[in-house]
Structure formats: structure tokens, C-alpha cells
């Protein structure tokens, strides 16, 4: 009896004991860190003394802006960016950071800075930080920053604001005139990816690893399914089946891996499309293809990801935010600001917008804001040709995926069998239908979570 009550006593850690233990641990770590910090500091001072050079000039440009400005900078303007993830994510944030560098290098006299990994609830503080650092133009690159950006725009009428992937702007009439909205839209590219997928699939089953059930992701899934069904039905006369697994996260490699594997194992999918900010889905496809003897295809997303799945890479959707940012830089620099609500699609920000014949197509090369990744040579040439043709047609908006033409001449139905695009009253999807899409085409067999 005595021993059991003692044991019971022992189980309850008192506050003092807890502090004692955690304090000891803390002290140990603190001492270790202090030593490590000292050592690092010492060696940094010893070995990389020359490296301290450029850093010093960098600080000088901040404290003494005048004398270092030898470039043609009209006003020495500064842009500030806010990112939702780390710049090294190789997904959404990485793409924005590449766009930032592109814009900086294309508009002389501009400098930029950024704040990464900003939780959506903390965007207003990051915006204030950038403004206090002298940013004239603040670009916030996640949907969740919309309200904070609009509030800041109202608070700072002398600064300019661009919000990515939202619906508030002076142009739309729900924000002040110094705020614009911009977006690089992928649904046309997902349709092209679908064409490639339907051209190679053996099982006729598509898997989609999806972040959140937002209208953006839903229209991407639909566009992909429409494209896949187009080429698969032409090949085999049968419809594809598409299954979706939701992550409820924009960046979660662990969960993505599970989702991608379950689509292959449980649904027998042999093409995996995705909306997630890492190359994980492509890596899973590569593992199946090279190690498990099961051919599975996947795509690039935001950046060219071929190196993550050289044997599984089919094509993909790639973005260059740079031209969008460059135009905003120029507007601010030349005092020609106009509030806009931009959707960068195929053919936008392209100097020569006219469509080209297939043999001269610029498809799958860096062009404009959004373009497909190189198409794997395994895709039969008739389909590669169709991909090029539709890419060129979409430059002039002659072809629209959400139309009868995009669906083998048939009306587009949702999962309940309701006709959404009939070719007569609704000839093709318009901005509002795409922007607030909340239904799946009937080729998608998974429900939209409610």
C-alpha cells in the first residue's frame, strides 16, 4: 500500500519539479548555445572576413541612401513583399520570390525587401514593418492577407498596394484607389495537363491531391478532369474517373505523400495532379515508376520540377510573377498608377499575343505569366499537337476549356447531372462562374467537402 501511494505521489510532477527540470534543460541548452554562438561568431569573423564586406555596403545603403545611388534611379523606389511561406519552399512563395527578383532586375532603380512566413493573422504588422522601412509599393502574396492589405491601403493613401489572389481592389470598388488585385490563373494550364494525362493513362483514373476546397482549386480540378476526359474518351471511348483527396493545407509534404499514395493504392490512379506547394506528389509518382514497378505520372507546379521526378514528369503549370510586378513598379515610378484587377492568363504579358501555327508554337517555353512545363516525349504527337494548338488558341481566348468545345461538343454537367454550360444560354464559363465555382464536373467522383 505504502509503495503504491508513493508511486501515485511520484506521478504528479509539482510545479517546482517541473521548473527545476525544464530550467536545468534550459540552462544546459543555453550554455551550449552560448558556446556554439561564440564559436560560430569567432569563425565567422576569422574565415569569412571578406564576406562581411558586401553586407556592410548593404547596411550603408540603408543608413546613407544618398551617396550610393549612382544608378539611373529616378526616385530610388522600394517595394516590399509579404510571403506566406519560406522562400525556400519550392512552391508558391519560391515562385513569388523569383518574380520579385525578375522584376527588380527588369526595372532599374528599384530595390525590394520581403518578410517571409507571415501567419495570415499577422499580416498587418508585416505591412507596417515594410512601410516603416520606406516601401512605396507593398505586395502581399496570399489570399489571407486581403483584409489587412485593404485596411493598410485605407490607412496609407500615399502608398501603393497589390494583393495577390483576392477580390478587393479600387477597380472592383471594394477598396481604396491605391489598391490593386492580381492573380496568375492556372485553369487553362490544368486543362492542357489534363489533355496530356488522358493521352497516357492506362487505368483511366486520375488522382488529385488538393489543398483547400476554394473556387480556385475547384476550377483547377474541373479543368484538369475536362482535359483528361477529352483525350481519354477520344482514345478509348470511355470516360475518366477523377478522385480528390483534400489536405486542408497549402504546404504539407507529409500529408501529401499519404494522399498521393492512397490515390494510387486505393483508387488505382496512374496520373496524379496536385495543388500543394511542394514537389512531393511528383516524388511519389517517381518512386512508383522507378522503384515499385508501377507507372505513375505527375506534374510541375509553379516552378519547373523535372529534377524531382525525371521519369514521372508529364508536363505542368509554371508561373512567372515577374511581368505583373514589373508593370506595377513602372506604374508607381511614372506616377501613372491605376487601380486594376488583373488575371494573368495564357497570352497576357506576352509582347506578341497573336496565335502561331503549331509548328511555330511557343508552347512550353517561358512566356508571359503562365506557361506549361515541357511535355514529356511519351505523349503521342497528335496530343502534343493539340496541346500546342489549344495553347495558341487560348492566347486570343478563342478556345475556352469550360465550353462545349472543351468537352467533346457535349454540355458540361455537374455531379448532380445538372447542365452548367449548355452552349446556348451559357456558351462558356465567364469570370464570375470561374471565380466562384463551387461544383465539380461529373467526371470527378469525390464530393466537395461541405
Amino acid at each position: 500500500m505504502a509503495s503504491t501511494s508513493k508511486d501515485a505521489e511520484r506521478k504528479l510532477l509539482t510545479r517546482r519539479e517541473f521548473l527545476g527540470i525544464s530550467g536545468t534543460a534550459a540552462a544546459g541548452i543555453a550554455v551550449a548555445t552560448a558556446v556554439a554562438g561564440g564559436v560560430i561568431g569567432y569563425f565567422a569573423g576569422q574565415t569569412s572576413a571578406p564576406a562581411a564586406g558586401p553586407a556592410k555596403t548593404f547596411t550603408k545603403t540603408i543608413t546613407a541612401a544618398g551617396p550610393t545611388k549612382t544608378i539611373t534611379a529616378a526616385r530610388g523606389l522600394k517595394a516590399g513583399y509579404i510571403y506566406v511561406g519560406p522562400v525556400g519552399d519550392y512552391g508558391w512563395t519560391h515562385a513569388h520570390d523569383e518574380g520579385r527578383k525578375w522584376a527588380d532586375s527588369h526595372v532599374p532603380g528599384w530595390k525590394s525587401t520581403y518578410v517571409e512566413s507571415v501567419p495570415e493573422a499577422e499580416a498587418s504588422g508585416a505591412i507596417e514593418s515594410l512601410i516603416s522601412q520606406g516601401a512605396e509599393l507593398v505586395i502581399t502574396t496570399s489570399f489571407g492577407y486581403m483584409d489587412a492589405t485593404a485596411d493598410a491601403a485605407a490607412k496609407h493613401p500615399d502608398k501603393y498596394f497589390v494583393h495577390i489572389s483576392g477580390y478587393k481592389s479600387g477597380a472592383a470598388g471594394n477598396a481604396t484607389q491605391n489598391m490593386s488585385a492580381a492573380f496568375a490563373e492556372f485553369y487553362q494550364l490544368y486543362y492542357l495537363c489534363g489533355l496530356a494525362a488522358g493521352a497516357v493513362t492506362k487505368t483511366g483514373i486520375m488522382g488529385y491531391v488538393a489543398a483547400y476546397p476554394t473556387p480556385e482549386v475547384i476550377r483547377h480540378i474541373n479543368a484538369f478532369a475536362l482535359g483528361a476526359n477529352y483525350s481519354y474518351r477520344k482514345r478509348t471511348g470511355k470516360d475518366i474517373k477523377a478522385y480528390v483527396v483534400w489536405l486542408f493545407s497549402w504546404f504539407n509534404p507529409g500529408k501529401t505523400r499519404q494522399a498521393a499514395m492512397s490515390l494510387v493504392e486505393e483508387r488505382n490512379a496512374d496520373v496524379l495532379a496536385f495543388t500543394e506547394d511542394s514537389p512531393t506528389t511528383l516524388e511519389v509518382a517517381e518512386e512508383y515508376t522507378t522503384k515499385k514497378g508501377r507507372k505513375v505520372w505527375s506534374f510541375s507546379h509553379y516552378s519547373d520540377m523535372r529534377k524531382y521526378g525525371p521519369h514521372a514528369h508529364l508536363t505542368g503549370q509554371i508561373v512567372n510573377w515577374g511581368p505583373i510586378y514589373r508593370d506595377f513598379y513602372r506604374m508607381v515610378e511614372t506616377d501613372s498608377w491605376e487601380t486594376v484587377d488583373i488575371w494573368g492568363r495564357i497570352g497576357d504579358f506576352v509582347p506578341y499575343r497573336w496565335r502561331k501555327p503549331e509548328d511555330k508554337s511557343t508552347c512550353c517555353k517561358p512566356e508571359g505569366v503562365v506557361y506549361p512545363a515541357p511535355v514529356n516525349s511519351v505523349v503521342p504527337s497528335e496530343w502534343t499537337t493539340l496541346i500546342k494548338q489549344r495553347y495558341e488558341d487560348m492566347k486570343e481566348l478563342i478556345f475556352e476549356p469550360f465550353s462545349l468545345e472543351g468537352n467533346l461538343g457535349e454540355p458540361i454537367r455537374d455531379q448532380d447531372g445538372k447542365v452548367r454550360i449548355d452552349g446556348k444560354i451559357v456558351p462558356r464559363a465567364d469570370h464570375d462562374m470561374l471565380w466562384s465555382m463551387n461544383w465539380f464536373v461529373d467526371y470527378v467522383k469525390s464530393p466537395i467537402p461541405k
Binding site: 504588422g125 514593418s129 516603416s132 489571407g144 476554394t214
Partner: protein, 347 residues
């Protein structure tokens, strides 16, 4: 125990040491430490940045004050984050109901939100308290795991029934009307939530040190068995203590939706409930210290962003910097409790 002067000296020494080590870190990655510290000071001077810092500090302080009550009774409430989410849910529910039914006069909106957020947060906290008191279920596990339930519950609402019908399908509720927002202190950029923090700190201090419940909480915290011999009902103390603890975290949730975001959204709290655990220990479970400590932490979060913007210190560097400051301060607190004795060979 050490004298007050030594205690103050240890605290200052810990902070100075932290400043020194982070300075070396900044220097090691090629940044000017002096300039880095100028940026941090600037956060507390610039009106815009100070306002942001205080707005972030308020939910941290409220959750910390709640945790102090729980920790004082030796109840390891790791669930402030979830209780914050329940508070956000309750406050938003009142706003949506008021907007839909027009049955709530604007003047009564905020008081109703406060009462509801406190109650709903508190009731959420009763579950682990009951399980612990009745079935000896480890509260660390229950409170921690309930955080995910709360977060996913809010996800469900904003993706489903509470989605703004005019929001283009995005997972957001309607924006709160002005009368459901926490106003700024007139003439400043600082949220009036700071005043609420001080009032709550006074109340927590009063309850802990001047009431029977506070006495019982402290006795339970020192020794549960001694409390039992003294005829104190553990069940009663645990339930009341957690009602207060989780209710205050719920108020923290209210201060996020009404003071920072202006509507409910998924993942609206960036971990303030976990931050509060650190702040509770930093302030030695003392409600007076919790208020400045929480507000300063809000400033450090903002300073992290300012440092990125000004000096391009990467986010991971900012995390190391923030962690080091707290590590040193906690170590200082630890050292105060013990005297150092050097012995050679066997004792």
C-alpha cells in the same frame, strides 16, 4: 532564495547575455547588430508598429492570465490555443446572429460577445478538468488534443455554414460591423484591449490572493493530497479554476477576431495559445508581470517582421533570436531559485 537585488541583477544579466549572443549571431550572418537592435527599439517607438504590437500582445496576455490560474493549481492546461478558437467561435456566433436577426442593439453587442466568448471558452475547458478530477485522465493530453478539435471545428464552420455568401466561396465569415470591433484608445494607435488586459490582471490577482477560491487553487497547486486532507474538493476547484482559465483564453480569441482580423477565418490564431505558455513561465505565474511580458512578446513578433524587412534576416534567424531571448530569461529565473555551490571531490 536570493535577495531582491540579486534577483534583479540576474534578470538584467540574463537579458544582456541574450542580447549579446543574438548580436553575435546577427554579426555571424553579416548583419550589423547595432542596427538590428535599432530596428527592434523602433518597433516600440513607431506609432503604427507599436499599435500592431499591442494588438498582438492582447490575446497573448489574456491567454497567459488564464494559464496562470490553471498552472497555479498545478493543472497543466496546454489547451489555451483551442480555448482561443472556441472564444473566436463564440464571439463570431454572436456577431452573425446579431447581424442576421437584428435582435441585438449595437450597444449590447460587445458585452454579449465578451460574456459568450468567456463562457464558451470556459465550458470547453471544463471537459479536461472533469476528466482529470473524475477519472484521473492526464490533462496535458486532453487539453493538447482538444486544440485540434477546436481548430478543425472552426475550419468546418468557415468552409461550411458560416461562409460569407458574398465572399466568392472563400473560407471567410462576413466582416464584423464596426460596433463589433475593439476600438482604439482615442488619439492613439493602441487597441483598448490593453486596458482590458490590465483590468483582467487585477481581477486574476484579486481572485488568486484574496478569495477562498484563490486560496484553494494555491493549496491544490502545492499539494493535491494536502488539499484533500483539508477538505477541499478537487473536483470543485479544478472545474472553477479551468472555467476561469479557459474563459480568459476565450476572451483572447475574441480579441483576435474583433481586434486584429475583423472576421473569423481558418487558422486565425498563429499559435498565441502556445506562446502564452512561455509567457506564463516567464512571468513566474505572476499576473502583474504577465501584462508587460505578453505585450512585449507581441512586440517581439512584430520586431521579427521588421528585422526581416529591414535587414533581410531570414525567418529561421528570427526564430532563433526569439527563442534565445526566452531561453536566457528562463535560465535566469531558474538560477534565482537555487544557490550555486561549488564542491571539489566527494561531498
Amino acid at each position: 532564495m536570493v535577495t531582491r537585488w540579486v534577483s534583479v541583477a540576474v534578470s538584467i544579466g540574463a537579458v544582456l547575455l541574450a542580447v549579446f549572443v543574438t548580436a553575435m549571431l546577427f554579426w555571424a550572418i553579416g548583419r550589423d547588430p547595432i542596427e538590428a537592435y535599432a530596428v527592434i527599439v523602433h518597433v516600440f517607438v513607431d506609432p503604427g508598429l507599436l499599435g500592431e504590437s499591442m494588438a498582438r500582445g492582447v490575446p497573448i496576455v489574456l491567454a497567459t492570465l488564464g494559464l496562470i490560474v490553471a498552472f497555479r493549481m498545478n493543472f497543466w492546461n496546454i489547451g489555451a490555443e483551442g480555448q482561443i478558437y472556441l472564444g473566436m467561435f463564440a464571439a463570431t456566433g454572436v456577431v452573425l446572429w446579431g447581424a442576421a436577426s437584428h435582435m441585438l442593439p449595437p450597444a449590447l453587442m460587445m458585452p454579449t460577445m465578451v460574456v459568450t466568448a468567456f463562457s464558451v471558452g470556459g465550458i470547453w475547458g471544463l471537459i479536461p478538468a472533469f476528466l482529470r478530477a473524475k477519472l484521473q485522465v492526464n490533462e496535458v493530453l486532453t487539453t493538447l488534443m482538444m486544440n485540434y478539435i477546436a481548430m478543425l471545428f472552426v475550419d468546418y464552420l468557415v468552409y461550411g455554414p458560416w461562409k460569407d455568401p458574398h465572399g466568392h466561396g472563400f473560407p471567410l465569415t462576413i466582416p464584423f460591423p464596426d460596433y463589433a470591433l475593439i476600438p482604439l484608445i482615442p488619439g492613439t494607435t493602441i487597441t483598448s484591449g490593453v486596458i482590458a488586459c490590465v483590468v483582467v490582471a487585477i481581477l486574476v490577482y484579486y481572485v488568486l490572493s484574496r478569495t477562498k477560491l484563490g486560496y484553494e487553487i494555491r493549496v491544490v497547486g502545492e499539494s493535491a493530497s494536502a488539499a484533500r486532507y483539508a477538505g477541499i474538493s478537487y473536483m470543485q476547484v479544478a472545474l472553477l479554476g479551468m472555467l476561469i482559465s479557459a474563459g480568459l483564453a476565450g476572451l483572447g480569441g475574441l480579441s483576435i477576431v474583433s481586434g486584429i482580423i475583423g472576421r473569423l477565418r481558418p487558422r486565425a490564431s498563429p499559435g498565441y495559445g502556445y506562446t502564452a505558455i512561455i509567457v506564463a513561465f516567464l512571468s513566474e505565474l505572476n499576473p502583474w508581470i504577465a501584462v508587460p511580458a505578453g505585450l512585449i512578446f507581441g512586440g517581439l513578433v512584430t520586431a521579427g517582421e521588421a528585422l526581416q524587412a529591414a535587414l533581410r534576416i531570414p525567418f529561421s534567424g528570427i526564430q532563433v533570436f526569439q527563442a534565445l531571448i526566452f531561453l536566457f530569461v528562463i535560465t535566469g529565473e531558474f538560477l534565482k531559485r537555487y544557490s550555486l555551490e561549488v564542491s571539489w571531490g566527494r561531498r
